[in-house]
């Protein structure tokens, strides 16, 4: 029999275990806030239970051992032998964290247990009562073999209704040795008339002989599921030796309980590594989305057959139908594209769900009172964006509680409710997904920010920046507002990192703040990373695509509008400010491009409030571009975020707006 490679299920196991832990955490938090819903306890138990079962099955013995202890404790809660208190919830929440870490280690092929997990397991063990650690059933009794067994087996009426057919049992016995049916008999309980028989009731009994050197345990194992379903007597055949003599068997413990989680071969773990790193990640798709796709495919097939009909013997009179068909093809293709893109879209709720826990922990740590409001959890984001937006959001939430919201006493003194409000909101706006983190705290401290900026050399001594400019300062590299870095915000991760992470996702982040009223951080993200709406531009023989969302304006400049500045850079005047001009043909080294300013076109692009003009030969039109990774197919190129294939089959490069703006500003500064 071919062996089954269990490693193929590891990824699913990790995914669903993490989901289970999320559910467990949410339920624990609900319990913590006073809910008495018993279903919560069941949810928590079920999650622990599933993880234990899976971990043991797939060879993660450490995870199984840890979860086993937690489950035992939960079993006491479920059976109401133990009440729920804050201490228990704390312990279980820490167990959730610990299990997440253990699963992470397991999935990267490391040993799951470490000193922390062992210490926590010890705590759980101490809290759980002793019986919880009971080992599975003992080993089979009567290992010694006899040369045969006499078996008297009488069915109880309901035997057949348990699905235990004597035929099956006898077949099993036949596997052990030579089976002889000495006598089969009809019991007195059987009705005299066939018409009165309930066929699902069994009224038969047998006297059997099983000849051969068969272990008693093996005989017992055949009947191990039949406790209470039959009368059974197993005796060693007269004159033949046996360790266990005649005993009427009521069949207590199953004779051969399946072997408990034996240590899995280490090969499993190395296999995990390759599975975890080698394969792409998977995605669970709502069945509705798949159905929509299938519908669309149906339409596509219909259109295709209609068009091929026309194509086979085309007559000019069919021109109108051909146009119609092409139009339909276009529409269906667009819908299909949208549906396919939707497959990658997942609700942001999965990210939002971590915040109740985070907020709870921060409240305790900082002595603040926070009410968390979540809105728009169903707003969908591209899976890749979703995976990467978590950290920036966590940072902003930490920041809001740490620096934004005041201590209860301060709030009271300021005439505000003692409990501050932190609101996370996600919604669609235009072609973007907007995520807002707003608090009703103290707002940005203008004086502190300016002082820090001056100290860091980000701001001249006499400068009086606008509020918006002050707000921008906190996103500057190396800027940290906390007078004293707490262990929450002071982890060397500043707002500049948040901005960089968001920008890497093709998004932007900004802040608006009002002293005494609070702050609103707004993150705008593209709907998807896989497709952009772009402006196709020509530069010599090359085609470059500029993402439409970043374009401010395209204009023709006279040669006199451009000024050369020290260091060789060029700037031009645009809406009251001087912007650096980048000649794309120079930046990317394109031959035969337009070099005279007045013959080309300047495309003004913006990234996070900073603008740069790009000189191109011409604008060729708008097009949706499916982004192909250049790194994957070629190598990373500065100023280029990817490539796409144009409708004529040629390749165009996509301008990395953030990168190009940085390049341009550097040139201006030089």
């Amino acid at each position: 029999m071919a062996t089954v490679d269990l490693t193929q299920f590891h990824k699913t196991f990790f995914e669903e275990s993490l989901e289970g832990l999320d559910a467990m955490e949410a339920a624990l938090l609900a319990l913590d806030s006073g809910s008495t819903d018993h279903e919560l306890v069941h949810t928590i138990f079920r999650a622990a239970h599933s993880i234990k079962g899976g971990a043991a099955t797939f060879g993660f013995a450490d995870v199984a051992a840890f979860t086993h202890v937690a489950e035992s404790l939960l079993e006491e809660v479920r059976s109401e032998r133990r009440g729920v208190d804050a201490e228990l919830i704390d312990l279980l929440l820490r167990s959730v964290d610990c299990l997440r870490a253990m699963l992470a280690r397991s999935s990267s092929g490391q040993p799951a247990a470490d000193a922390d997990s062992e210490a926590l397991r010890g705590e759980l063990l101490r809290l759980a009562s002793g019986e919880a650690v009971a080992a599975p059933a003992a080993a089979a009794p009567g290992v010694a073999s006899a040369t045969g067994w006499a078996i008297r087996f009488v069915a109880l009426p309901h035997l057949l209704q348990t699905g235990n057919d004597p035929l099956r049992l006898f077949r099993e016995l036949e596997q052990l040795g030579r089976l002889e049916v000495r006598r089969a008999f009809v019991l007195d309980s059987a009705p005299a008339r066939l018409a009165e028989l309930d066929p699902s009731q069994c009224h038969l009994g047998w006297e059997l002989r099983l000849h051969g050197a068969v272990a008693r345990g093996d005989v017992d194992a055949v009947f191990d599921w039949l406790d209470g379903d039959c009368e059974l007597v197993i005796e060693s055949l007269p004159g033949e030796t046996s360790a266990t003599a005649a005993d009427p068997v009521a069949m207590a413990a199953p004779a051969t309980a399946p072997v408990p989680a034996a240590a899995p071969p280490p090969a499993c773990e190395t296999a995990t590594v390759s599975a975890a790193s080698g394969e792409g990640s998977s995605i669970r798709v709502d069945i509705d989305k798949v159905d929509a796709l299938i519908n669309m495919m149906g339409e596509l097939v219909i259109t295709q057959s209609m068009l091929s009909d026309i194509g086979e013997n085309f007559r000019p009179s069919q021109l109108e139908r051909l146009r119609e068909g092409l139009l339909q093809l276009e529409r269906t293709t667009r819908e299909l594209q949208e549906s396919v893109m939707r497959i990658r879209m997942l609700p942001i709720g999965s990210v939002f769900n971590r915040f109740p826990r985070l907020v709870r922990d921060l409240e305790r740590k900082l002595g603040k009172q926070v009410r968390l409001e979540l809105h728009g959890e169903h707003t969908e984001l591209d899976k890749t964006v979703l995976e990467k937006i978590g950290d920036p959001l966590v940072h902003l939430v930490r920041n809001a509680i740490d620096h934004g919201l005041e201590l209860p006493a301060q709030r009271k003194a300021a005439g505000k409710p003692e409990t501050g409000t932190l609101r996370l909101n996600a919604y669609h706006e235009g072609g973007n997904i907007v995520v807002q983190i707003s608090d009703d705290g103290a707002g940005l401290n203008r004086a502190a920010i300016m002082a820090k900026a001056q100290q860091r050399g980000l701001l001249g001594a006499g400068e009086e920046p606008s509020d918006a400019e002050v707000a921008e300062l906190i996103f500057q590299p190396g800027f940290s507002t906390a007078a004293q870095a707490t262990d929450l915000s002071g982890r060397g991760v500043g707002m500049d990192v948040v901005r960089r992470n968001v920008r890497d996702l093709g998004g932007s982040v900004g802040v608006k703040s009002e002293v005494g009223k609070g702050s609103v951080f707004t993150i705008a993200l593209p709907l998807t990373l896989a497709i952009i709406d772009g402006l196709v531009t020509a530069v010599g023989e090359e085609r470059y695509i500029v993402p439409l969302t970043s374009i401010v304006e395209s204009l023709r400049l006279g040669a006199e509008a451009v000024r050369r500045i020290a260091g060789g850079g060029e700037v031009f005047h645009f809406r009251g400010e001087y912007l650096p001009l980048m000649r794309l043909h120079r930046a990317f080294g394109c031959a035969d491009a337009v070099t005279e300013i007045e013959r080309g076109i300047v495309v003004v692009i913006e990234d996070a409030g900073r603008r740069v003009g790009l000189l191109v030969d011409d604008l060729l039109g708008q097009q949706q571009a499916v982004i192909k990774s250049l790194e994957k197919h070629y190598r990373r190129v500065q100023g280029v975020s990817g490539a796409t294939i144009l409708s004529d089959g040629s390749v165009a490069l996509i301008v990395d707006v953030g990168g190009v703006v940085r390049l341009g500003l550097r040139a201006k500064a030089a």
């Binding site: 057949l160 057919d165 066939l194 018409a195 028989l197 038969l204």
Partner: protein, 114 residues
Amino acid sequence: MAGKRAAKQYQDERPAAPDGAAAVVLPADCRLAAQAALQAELVAALERGADVALDASAVERVDTAALQLLVLLRRELGSRDGALAWRGASAAFNEAAGLLGLARILELPAAGPA
């Protein structure tokens, strides 16, 4: 019972076998789920004649419950001096009857040393 009604129909549709026995053909799947109908047929056969002829040559799957039905049929026939005749039995049927030690009680011709 639906089974009884079904049995009445069979009574009309099925003539007695040439040797005078009421004939019943056992279905391919003779397991518990199919037995309400089978039982009705057997009971109808019992009511029709002194002897019953069974054809188990099409039986592919059979369980203890089915064999128990036949054992009780045989017992009731015996109590009124009726005979059980076999028109045929598949290998699967013979194997099951033999394994349960019921081949002799059922007077299966092909039954070996059971």
